[in-house]
């Protein structure tokens, strides 16, 4: 009896994850918007800089990274928006399960719904800018480590703005200082790979940062949420 009333931790995590992914899947159109945005931005670069492939090749890595970052920022605002509006986030805060774990699951769901499609089309974006094929695996590795980091950092900030009504520009202002190191290391790996230098060190730094963020960010996110929604 007790088991059915208080589901286990794993069960609860899975329930939150499944719920969020189902909701995202029902809004497939919204899910595609960041992808479309990234495509548009990337196709603008050649128009602005000229079609010389040497120049485009040089900026390709950084341009794709920044484009993916901006596309993620576009979707960040909506991370907990509907949950705050329909009150389900407050239910989650009252639930017996640790809030940090639940927030971690929500961030994971958001990453799967918004960042994964972007990573999938990243080779296409890079190809549009003539990124050498040999650098492609490094780009994917950098994105696989950098995008969850951005989602985790963004999750904290979104939790902080949970009590406000509009937060679009505010989120961008707050995220910029936090994402500078992420961009530097991800772009550093790409630049090193393009010059034929060893690129494992920046990737390793990104990995270390991701491990730290996976542990700390959900805790910070939960704390931020309690502060921002406590009245």
């Amino acid at each position: 009896m007790l088991d059915t009333r208080r589901p286990g931790l794993v069960h609860a995590c899975m329930a939150v994850l499944r719920r969020d992914l189902t909701l995202a899947w029902r809004q497939r159109g919204d899910m595609m918007l960041p992808v479309l945005y990234a495509l548009i931005v990337t196709s603008l670069f050649p128009f602005a800089l000229g079609p010389e492939s040497a120049l485009l090749r040089r900026i390709a890595g950084g341009a794709v990274l920044v484009t993916v970052l901006l596309a993620m920022l576009l979707a960040l605002d909506a991370m907990f928006r509907s949950d705050i509006e329909d009150g389900s986030l407050e239910q989650l805060m009252l639930a017996p399960q640790p809030l940090a774990l639940m927030m971690g699951m929500k961030i994971l769901a958001h990453w799967l719904a918004t960042a994964l499609p972007l990573i999938v089309i990243a080779p296409l974006l890079a190809g549009m800018l003539h990124l050498p094929g040999a650098v492609m695996p490094v780009l994917l590795a950098a994105l696989l480590l950098a995008t969850p980091l951005l989602s985790l950092l963004g999750g904290i900030l979104v939790a902080l703005t949970a009590g406000t009504r509009r937060s679009g520009m505010l989120l961008a202002l707050m995220l910029l200082p936090l994402c500078v190191p992420v961009v530097i290391f991800a772009a550093g790996a790409l630049a090193a790979a393009q010059e034929g230098l060893p690129w494992i060190a920046p990737i390793a730094w990104l990995g270390a940062a991701l491990v730290l963020a996976v542990v700390l960010a959900p805790l910070a996110c939960a704390a931020a949420l309690r502060i921002a929604l406590d009245s």
């Binding site: 406000t164 937060s167 200082p177 936090l178 190191p181 704390a223 502060i227």
Partner: protein, 252 residues
């Protein structure tokens, strides 16, 4: 709860007491700040000899370096106040943290502008992606983020606590940014500019610099008192002591 806090500090954290205390402290702090500032300016602009390499251009140092120190110092104060505000929920700590943010942003802005004006002549460019400059720019964005987050809440106390949390995140962030930009610069092997090389500074330049540093600290105290007083009035506008102040000022 507050057994270990000295009694007077505990008393001081009550808004009306602090309001009066800040009112007394403020004129003294600003008077001393102006006095020391003028002395430092006289020493820096008139008495100090021109630098043998940079001529008179280096005289920007007397405002640039104290401002840069203040931009970091105020962030430290804000971080400590933010921590106290979040852990012990002391209203005064929230006020101090949020009143510090605009002053810190002002000093950071001054640092960036005076640094660019100096750099135009010294390096031939007004901006370079050096670790210190980039960290200072990130610091400005952090300050602006804290201020914007604070003002985006309708409830001021809630806004203060939320922005305090952001300030604490920023404290972790600044060293990381500095370290990553240093690494990034070595990778790009671009600017190898040293802001203040191991050049020996003449003693005639040191004392105005230190005097200016004290003057900016005192200015910060005075401005903090000013802002904290205004914030306390806004926060406690329903209370009797604020009403009394409003009535007394109309008579006086």
């Amino acid at each position: 709860m507050a057994n270990w806090i000295p009694l007077w500090l505990h008393k001081l954290s009550s808004p009306p007491v602090f309001y009066r205390f800040a009112g007394v402290l403020r004129p003294w702090a600003i008077a001393l700040a102006v006095l020391l500032g003028l002395v430092a300016l006289y020493g820096g602009l008139v008495l100090a000899p021109p630098d043998y390499q940079q001529g008179d251009d280096y005289r920007i140092i007397f405002i640039h370096v104290p401002s840069a120190w203040m931009s970091l110092f105020i962030y430290g104060v804000m971080g400590v106040a933010a921590f106290i505000a979040l852990v012990w929920r002391i209203k005064l700590a929230e006020v101090v943290a949020m009143a510090s943010a605009p002053i810190g942003a002002a000093f950071t802005f001054i640092t960036l502008v005076t640094g660019s004006l100096w750099g135009v002549r010294m390096w031939g460019t007004w901006w370079t992606w050096d670790a210190r400059l980039t960290s200072e720019l990130v610091l400005l964005f952090l300050y602006l983020g804290v201020i914007a987050l604070y003002h985006s809440f309708e409830d001021r106390r809630q806004g203060a606590r939320t922005a305090a949390f952001l300030a604490l995140i920023g404290i972790v962030n600044v060293p990381i940014v500095h370290f990553s930009v240093v690494w990034w610069n070595t990778l790009h092997q671009g600017s190898t500019i040293k802001l203040l090389g191991p050049s020996t500074i003449a003693p005639g330049m040191v004392w105005p610099l230190l005097t200016m540093m004290v003057a900016t600290k005192l200015y910060y105290v005075a401005s903090l008192c000013s802002r904290a007083r205004a914030d306390l009035l806004a926060l406690e506008s329903g209370k009797d002591w604020v009403r009394q102040i409003a009535e007394n000022e109309v008579r006086g």
